[in-house]
Every structure is written in structure tokens, then in C-alpha cells.
């Protein structure tokens, strides 16, 4: 399409040869999931984007339904149809498509462009690590190098950065009667505001879950319940990466971890993936599911299921993504829109410190490898426009999120969305899943074993032993493990 347009334009242009400025029509086509953050990008580009080059640049987003986004992108890339100049990618897909030669390495472009360097330096290091680096460089090392170093390979920029935290019912957690009862039973107060959530541990989470689990006929905050009410929930679903996203947090918080791709081929799997710490964390994760709604038993409790249960007023608190928060405070979709507060996810006491490590969500956007220099230059200008402070502020105000420290540091930032303060506070705790091309195979097998444990077919240790054994063999075959 671009080329077709360009040839057409060259013809037109040649007719006017001699006139000084030659503005070209260039279309940047980007594949993106069909939802708010990308719809906003299209609308806002239509309204405000003027290419600094003077060319007539149009961003044309191909909106693809979320459930089929990967299939479409994958088929398009692998067929070599070279349809897209840019695309939104899940961070985990980076290695797969980089090693296939589809995503453009940006180092040379960044090296000669101080504006880009400034943007990268302004991004939160956790996002640079998760969304851009391959081979992956962990967030703390990225931070050490001041985000920008020629030794790191850069590929993507945040399109929609995301992390998860607690959504809770203020009408319940701040209810006097409930507080008195909770105090009597557990000797502490229910966390009624964001600052109270900063001290919460998984022990408290379990107490809260137990406390608020009620049957039909019992009272809740002074009202008689017509149907069962549930305590707490987080993602525990087989589809996509649902359970892994939450379980990884438990691994890290208990001092364990996942296979460290940044040290391949010297980082082991056996003894790490099935370490005692991981087993302890995973056991705790499973144990806390007893306070969850019964759908947890089916292994289908994904991010949307808990969001729906929460919005229907069936559950006291959940842990879910920032991306899913807007409908929860919208009276059109939610029964609890005016009684919802946001707070940090609980943490675990590790070495005397409350650890809140969590798995990064969200998506970067990248450039593809088949564009000519002119298109690349225009695409980079688009990146700069998207990551400019003005655009990012507009995006956050429209319900999106930003990864720029300058935007997060804006004194008004917290007021643009009720969950912004929480999002900002949890950002430093984010780590990401593997990015290597073997990721999908590892993830699928792991989700399957986790699912067995969640549905009570096997124990935490059995699941992790099976996962470790599989990953060890797979990574050895792929020569990522010695």
C-alpha cells in the first residue's frame, strides 16, 4: 500500500517538479489489538499528528480483535506479506519475532538521535527492560546503565504499559460494623484506603478472603445477602498467560524465580524452577484460592472472569490489570462503580522487607524490518510524537497509561485516573517473563501443569518438577542451556 501510494505520488510529484517543497504521502500501517489505548492512538493521530518532515504522513491502524490478535499478526509476519510498517507486540513475543528477522533493531537509529535517547532515558527502567531489550537485560541492570547504553539491543517502545494491583470495595472495607468484627477476629483493621494497602501481606489477604466469604442469608455491611459472596481473587486461568502472570509474583516474592534468560547458557533450570522457595510460593498461591469464587476450581478464573464478578458486586477484592480498571468505575458496566478503591497488591516479608515483585503486563510497539529509510524515519517521528509529553498526558487522561517518568512525575498525574497513584507505585516492582522464542512452548506446558495443580489433580511440587524437567530438556535442545 505504501509503495503503491508512493509510486502514485512520485508521478504526481514529477508533474510539479520544480516547485520547491515536495510533500510525500506516506502511510504507516500498524497492526494493533482493537481496544481503547490503540483506538485513542488512531483518533489522536488523526486529530493532531503533523510529520515534522513536512510529508503527508498518515497512521493507519489495522484494528484486530484481541482474542485473535496473535494469530493474525503471526500469520501476517510468517507469510512474509510485509503488510505492516509497525505493530503492537506482547513483550513476550519479542524474541520469537526478532530471531525470525521481523522486528527492527533500533540501536543505530537511537545512537544518532538524541531525542530518542532522551525518551529512553525518561522511560521507567522496568519498561525498557521488558519492552525493548533483547537479549533481555534485567531492569536493575538497565537502571544502572541509565537506561541507555550501546551494549543493550533496543527494539520497542511502550504503547500501553500495564501492571496489576488491588481493586477493593470501599463500602465494605470502610464499614464500621465490618471493621469491628474484623478487629475482633484478626486484631487489625481492614485496609480502608490506599495507604493502608501499603502494609498488606498475603496473610492479611487470606484473612480478608476468609472474613468476607459469606453465604446467602448472612449479612454483609448490614444488608442480608441474596446470594453467596466471595472474599478475594486473582488470576488462575489456563488460557494465555493468566495463572503464570500471578504465580511468577509469588515465586519472586518468596525469593525464588524463573529461568534467567539474561544469563543463558549459564543459568540453570533444575533447582531454580522447582526450588523450595518456588514451591513455597506456589503452595501459598494455591492455598489462597480457597477464598476465591468457585470458578477457581475450574482453572478458568482469568482476568476477565474476576473483573466481571467484581463488577457484579460478588467479591470484596481482586487483583487485576490497570487496563481493566476503567469499566469497573463506569456505572454503565459496573454495579460497584462508586464504591471501588485501588491499592497495591499485597507483598511477602522477604529478608525483613515487604517484597511486591510482580509480572509486568502491557505491550510495546515495534518497527518491522522491510521498510525503506524514508518510512523508517517517518515511523521514528511517529514514535517520538507518541512518546512526547503532551501526547502521553492526553493518553493517560483518556484512560491510557504512560511509561515516561516525566509524565508519572507530573504533580497532577495521580488525579487523572483513580488508580494512577497505585500504578505509579507498583511500577518499580515489575519484572517480566522470558522473551526467548521458546517462550510459547514453555508457557503452554507451564500453564497446563499449573492448571493441574489449581484444579487439584497434582501438588505444587509435582507441578513444578514437571515444569522444570520440561524446560530443562527444551532449553538444552535449543542450546540455551549448557
Amino acid at each position: 500500500m505504501t509503495h503503491y501510494l508512493k509510486t502514485g505520488l512520485l508521478l504526481t510529484a514529477s508533474m510539479f517538479l520544480g516547485s520547491s517543497a515536495l510533500a510525500e504521502d506516506i502511510t504507516i500501517r500498524m497492526a494493533a489489538p482493537d481496544w481503547g489505548p490503540t483506538r485513542f492512538m488512531q483518533e489522536y493521530a488523526n486529530e493532531t499528528y503533523k510529520a515534522p518532515s513536512g510529508n503527508n504522513v498518515k497512521l493507519e491502524i489495522d484494528f484486530i480483535p484481541w482474542p485473535n490478535f496473535f494469530d493474525r499478526v503471526n500469520a501476517s509476519l510468517n507469510s512474509g506479506e510485509q503488510k505492516y510498517q509497525m505493530l503492537v507486540s506482547d513483550s513476550q513475543w519479542l524474541g520469537t519475532f526478532i530471531e525470525a528477522g521481523y522486528f527492527l533493531k533500533l540501536n543505530d537509529l537511537i545512537a544518532e538521535d538524541e531525542e530518542l535517547q532522551a525518551i529512553i532515558k525518561d522511560l521507567h527502567p522496568a519498561l525498557v527492560s521488558g519492552y525493548s531489550t533483547y537479549p533481555n537485560v534485567p531492569a536493575d541492570k538497565v537502571a544502572e546503565m541509565g537506561n541507555y547504553s550501546p551494549d543493550i539491543n533496543y527494539y520497542g517502545f511502550p504503547q500501553f504499559p500495564d501492571n496489576y494491583f488491588t481493586y477493593y470495595r470501599t463500602d465494605l472495607f470502610c464499614d464500621e460494623g465490618e471493621n469491628a468484627a474484623y478487629q475482633a477476629k484478626y486484631g487489625s483493621d481492614l485496609p480502608c484506603d490506599a495507604s493502608a494497602w501499603e502494609d498488606m501481606t498475603w496473610d492479611d489477604w487470606g484473612n480478608i478472603g476468609e472474613f468476607f466469604t459469606r453465604s446467602a442469608g448472612e449479612t454483609l455491611a448490614g444488608k442480608t445477602l441474596e446470594s453467596d459472596f466471595y472474599g478475594v481473587a486473582y488470576q488462575a486461568g489456563k488460557p494465555l498467560d493468566f495463572s503464570t502472570m500471578q504465580i511468577n509474583a509469588f515465586f519472586w516474592q518468596w525469593g525464588g524465580g524463573i529461568w534467567d534468560e539474561s544469563n543463558e547458557p549459564n543459568s540453570p533450570v533444575l533447582g531454580v524452577v522447582n526450588s523450595d522457595e518456588n514451591v513455597a510460593g506456589f503452595e501459598r498461591y494455591l492455598e489462597l484460592l480457597q477464598h476465591a469464587p468457585p470458578i477457581a476450581k475450574t482453572g478458568q478464573m482469568g482476568i476477565f472472569e474476576i473483573q466481571d464478578l467484581y463488577m457484579q458486586g460478588k467479591i470484596a477484592a481482586i487483583i487485576d490489570w490497570a487496563a481493566l480498571a476503567a469499566p469497573v468505575v463506569d456505572p454503565q458496566t459496573s454495579q460497584v462503580s462508586d464504591v471501588t478503591g485501588f491499592g497495591l497488591m499485597p507483598g511477602n516479608m522477604l529478608n525483613g522487607k515487604l517484597d511486591r515483585s510482580a509480572n509486568l503486563g502491557g505491550q510495546p510497539f515495534v518497527l518491522t524490518t522491510w521498510n525503506d529509510d524514508e518510512v523508517i524515519a517517518e515511523a521514528i517521528d511517529l514514535v517520538k510524537w507518541w512518546l512526547s509529553e503532551d501526547t502521553q498526558i492526553a493518553a493517560v487522561k483518556a484512560g491510557g497509561q504512560s511509561g515516561l517518568m516525566s509524565v508519572l512525575g507530573n504533580p497532577d498525574y495521580d488525579s487523572w485516573a483513580p488508580w494512577n497513584a497505585t500504578y505509579r507505585q507498583s511500577l518499580p516492582w515489575q519484572k517480566d517473563l522470558w522473551h526467548v522464542p521458546e517462550m510459547f512452548e514453555m508457557l503452554t506446558q507451564q500453564q497446563e501443569e499449573f492448571d493441574r495443580a489449581i484444579t487439584g489433580q497434582i501438588s505444587a511440587r509435582e507441578a513444578l518438577d514437571a515444569v522444570a524437567e520440561f524446560q530443562d530438556e527444551l532449553l538444552r535442545d535449543a542450546e540455551r542451556l549448557k
Binding site: E43, D71, S79, S227, Q307, Q332
Partner: protein, 288 residues
């Protein structure tokens, strides 16, 4: 006599009552979907389920209009998707019908060497899981530059409707009495005249049934529409899939509204051609 008649009448009433009950139970999930189209999200997910509620047309509004963050109302492009679905389905079905009918007539009247083998291979190609051929088809589309164009997806659907059209139409031609055609030939009519004036008019109902079934299949096709259409050529099933996921798991009301709207043309056409259904579902391999 009158007693037996009454008995028969009673049996018929009983049968009708049973059928209504069974039909009602059977239709309940569909009825549920249609009801949901008129519900708010809270009502849609309410337990115990709400049969009586204050209906809303918001979901249908959402099918046709987007309200942006700034409050601007823009069309969702659903009309374009409906037009695309209709255009792509009708064109490809017509093409498949023309090509397929000619072939079917040949398979019926002028058997080739290995006639059955051809027919077997043709049927088999229709029975493969689509995932098998996605990547190669993508490659072909890339080589020919057809990706995202109407021509590409129409050709593809033509190819997928062909086996069906051939098998269906062959079954109808097989049913005809060849003597009628032979006597026309005796009277000096050429083969083309026989086909156009004698054979085809006798299978008009069959043509209609084939068209309807091919239309339903094409109308519902999802995976190739997802992978091979562009922004401008997108069809309704892909738009329906957009109501799942994003900031919210399933946009229950909007999904139901789209499914309900999408069902209307199929429902009408099926009702009108109910008697031809049987032949349709079996690719013409079974006829009474």
C-alpha cells in the same frame, strides 16, 4: 369414523404440544442471546436470571456508533462490514455456483475417466481443518498481491464453496430423468441448449438451496476472514469477535445484539427454503 378422526386430531394436538415444549427448550439458549441484546450489563449477568427487565436499545446503538473519549459520536463501520459480508458472500457464491454447476452437470452427464476419484478428492479438500492451509494460502496471497483485496477473499471463498456446489448440484442433476434431455437431443437441440433450456430449469430449486447453504457457510466463516481481509474489506464475523476481550471480557450486550442482527437474514432465508435444507446439510450426498 368421527371417533377415529377425533383420536387422530388429539394425537396431532399432543404432538404439537410436545414439539412446542421441545422446540422451546431447544431455542432457549438462542432466546437468551436475543434477550441479552436488550439488557444492560448488570441485567445480563444477574443471577437469578432476569426474564423481566427494562429493555434498553443501548447495545444496538453501540453496534452502529462509537462514542469516543471526548464524546464524539462516530459510526463503527458496521454498515461497511455488513456490505462487505453481503458483497463477498454473494459474489463468491454466484461464482462457485456457475463454475460448480457446469462441473456438476459434466460429472453427472459426461463422466470423466476416474470420475469418482475426482469427486472424492474434491470432497476431501473441504474436510480439512483450516489451520492446515493457512500459511501456504498466506504465501500465495503474498505472491499474487491479493491480501486484503476483495478479489482475494472472493476467490478463496469461491474455492471453498466449489466442492459443496459441485456435490449438491450433481445430486440434483442425477435426480433428473435423462430421457427428457435425450428426446430434446433427438429433436436436434445442441448440448448447450439442452443444458440451458431443459436441465437447468428443472433444478432451479436445487440452485436456490445450494446458494442458500453456501451463503450461510460463507456468511459465518471466520478464520480466513480474520486473516485475509484488510480494514476496508473486513466482514461481520470479525467485527463480532471484536466484542470479546479488551478492557472487558465479553461485551455481552453488544455481542448479543450483533449475533441477533446477523442471524436475521439467515433465519429468513432458511425459513423460506426449509424444504431444501436436508439436501444442503449433507452436501447433496443424501436425497430422500
Amino acid at each position: 369414523m368421527s371417533g377415529s378422526f377425533r383420536k387422530h386430531d388429539q394425537a396431532s394436538k399432543l404432538r404439537a404440544a410436545c414439539a412446542w415444549i421441545v422446540g422451546g427448550i431447544y431455542f432457549a439458549p438462542v432466546f437468551w442471546i436475543i434477550l441479552t441484546a436488550f439488557k444492560t450489563r448488570a441485567d445480563a449477568l444477574a443471577i437469578p436470571p432476569k426474564l423481566f427487565f427494562s429493555p434498553t436499545l443501548d447495545n444496538f446503538h453501540a453496534v452502529f456508533f462509537n462514542v469516543s473519549s471526548t464524546g464524539d459520536v462516530t459510526g463503527t463501520g458496521v454498515w461497511l462490514y455488513f456490505a462487505n459480508s453481503a458483497f463477498i458472500a454473494i459474489t463468491s457464491v454466484l461464482l462457485a455456483l456457475v463454475i460448480g454447476t457446469l462441473a456438476a452437470y459434466a460429472f453427472s452427464r459426461y463422466p470423466l475417466k476416474g470420475n469418482d476419484t475426482y469427486l472424492f478428492v474434491i470432497l476431501t479438500t473441504r474436510m480439512l481443518p483450516p489451520i492446515v492451509v493457512i500459511i501456504p494460502i498466506f504465501l500465495m496471497f503474498r505472491v499474487t498481491g491479493l491480501s486484503g483485496s476483495y478479489l482475494g477473499i472472493i476467490l478463496l471463498y469461491t474455492g471453498f464453496n466449489l466442492p459443496f456446489s459441485i456435490w449438491m448440484m450433481k445430486s440434483f442433476f442425477d435426480d433428473l430423468n435423462p430421457e427428457v434431455e435425450d428426446s430434446a437431443r433427438m429433436d436436434g437441440s445442441g448440448d448447450w441448449t439442452v443444458l440451458g433450456r431443459i436441465a437447468l430449469p428443472q433444478v432451479l430449486a436445487g440452485l436456490a438451496a445450494t446458494a442458500v447453504f453456501a451463503l450461510i457457510l460463507t456468511w459465518n466463516e471466520f478464520i480466513f476472514a480474520l486473516l485475509l481481509t484488510g480494514t476496508e474489506t473486513r466482514t461481520v464475523p470479525v467485527a463480532i469477535a471484536s466484542t470479546i476481550g479488551g478492557e472487558i471480557g465479553v461485551h455481552w450486550g453488544k455481542l448479543s445484539a450483533m449475533v441477533s442482527l446477523f442471524l436475521i437474514p439467515v433465519f429468513i432465508v432458511t425459513f423460506a427454503l426449509q424444504n431444501q435444507l436436508l439436501r444442503g446439510v449433507t452436501f447433496g450426498t443424501v436425497r430422500k
